[in-house]
Symmetry: C2
Subunit: 230 residues, 2 copies
């Protein structure tokens, strides 16, 4: 620690409540999800520690969490690497699993959701509309975040927290991938989201399931075509 300016022992603001491990994790995750780091690049523990001005302890835990989420890969006795981008096959696997879980979750949300759940879902859908405009990096990030929140809310409303947790872990991959291949996605997505929310509000389980399935299949197709035209 460097003490450039001292003389402030009786600080009346002693509650940063930061939890360094959290903020290091968030910083690292943001770096990875924004693809600011080349896939395959080395991530050294003390390198990151120096760069973030913290000790190695919180960096290790952050890398550990990112490894569990598949954002980094670990080579025993030789540090971490930025995980490679999803390939075509991995993308298909991802949507395959989502298609097994999310339509069911949406159907259950249509029957099980509380009034508050329905309101949250509706709010999330409407919150995304204004985020669409703008072509910037930042605009896309906000869109993706709202999208994740919406799908997460629907999954939670389905009633099985295990399903919601499973999907949540998958989201990190989705995000990485989608960030890389962002092509006019937002416009179409909004109407599909409205369809899902509409069916859930109407307590229409079969309709919600079908709307979610259609949304995922469309999303997969959009990503796939974007992927192929490289």
């Amino acid at each position: 620690m460097r003490d450039q300016d001292q003389g402030r022992p009786p600080r009346l603001r002693p509650a940063p409540r930061l939890m360094l491990r959290e903020s290091v994790y968030e910083a690292l995750k943001r770096l990875l999800m924004d693809n600011a780091l080349e896939p395959g690049a080395r991530l050294s523990i003390d390198g990151l520690a120096r760069e973030l001005q913290v000790s190695q302890t919180p960096v290790r835990e952050a890398l550990f969490r990112c490894e569990a989420e598949g954002l980094v890969v670990r080579r025993p006795n030789a540090g971490y690497l930025v995980a490679p981008l999803l390939g075509r096959d991995a993308l298909l696997d991802l949507y395959d699993l989502r298609l097994l879980l999310e339509p069911t979750a949406a159907a259950r949300a249509a029957t099980n959701a509380t009034d508050r759940d329905r309101r949250d879902i509706d709010d999330a859908v409407r919150a995304m509309a204004p985020a669409v405009h703008g072509d910037s990096y930042q605009a896309y990030r906000e869109f993706a975040e709202e999208d994740a929140k919406l799908h997460g809310t629907i999954a939670s409303a389905g009633g099985n927290p295990l399903i919601a947790d499973t999907l949540d872990r998958l989201r990190a991959h989705v995000h990485t991938y989608r960030l890389y291949f962002r092509h006019g996605i937002a416009e179409v997505t909004t109407s599909e989201h409205e369809a899902i929310s509409d069916r859930i509000r109407a307590h229409d389980a079969a309709g919600a399931e079908q709307a979610m399935r259609a949304h995922l299949e469309n999303s997969r197709t959009r990503l796939l075509t974007a992927y192929d035209q490289d």
Copy 2:
């Protein structure tokens, strides 16, 4: 210093490369999965470090992994607790998710599995039969381990590694739970496993799916009745 035998290529000994983090994790996981520790009991980092004769670093990582698997819970700034046993509702959630994934995986295994996969599945089924005898703790552990391996092999043969990974994470919960409520389960299970393996060998997707579904539903019922008669 080490011996400088020039001209001598690397030793054939692959080295007792222990990877302390792994063994600490395994030791802790075993403790938890065997329910050797009371749910709700405190797990202090230095306490475990002293008990296992290691430093705190690997203990932290082991606890971190166990937290991700739901075996322990963490209270910020106040250590870890042994996670509470699954309640009736959590048990239902667990089987709910398994029922969404495993029958589908079994159906795909019936069509996609390689010859080697089919042989592995068959081997796993046969490996379980002798493990049934004996009422002891140890006998049950072996049974549960073989059971996990069988289901894992089927899931992998399904072709989507994401699904296999998801189920693998769930297994830790299953194990904890089932270990607690072990009542004559093994005998019935073997015939159900044989039915699944039989349908997969016969390339009968619909049959494999149905056999897996029946197996899971029966398993759930068995656990539930055992749970209720407490």
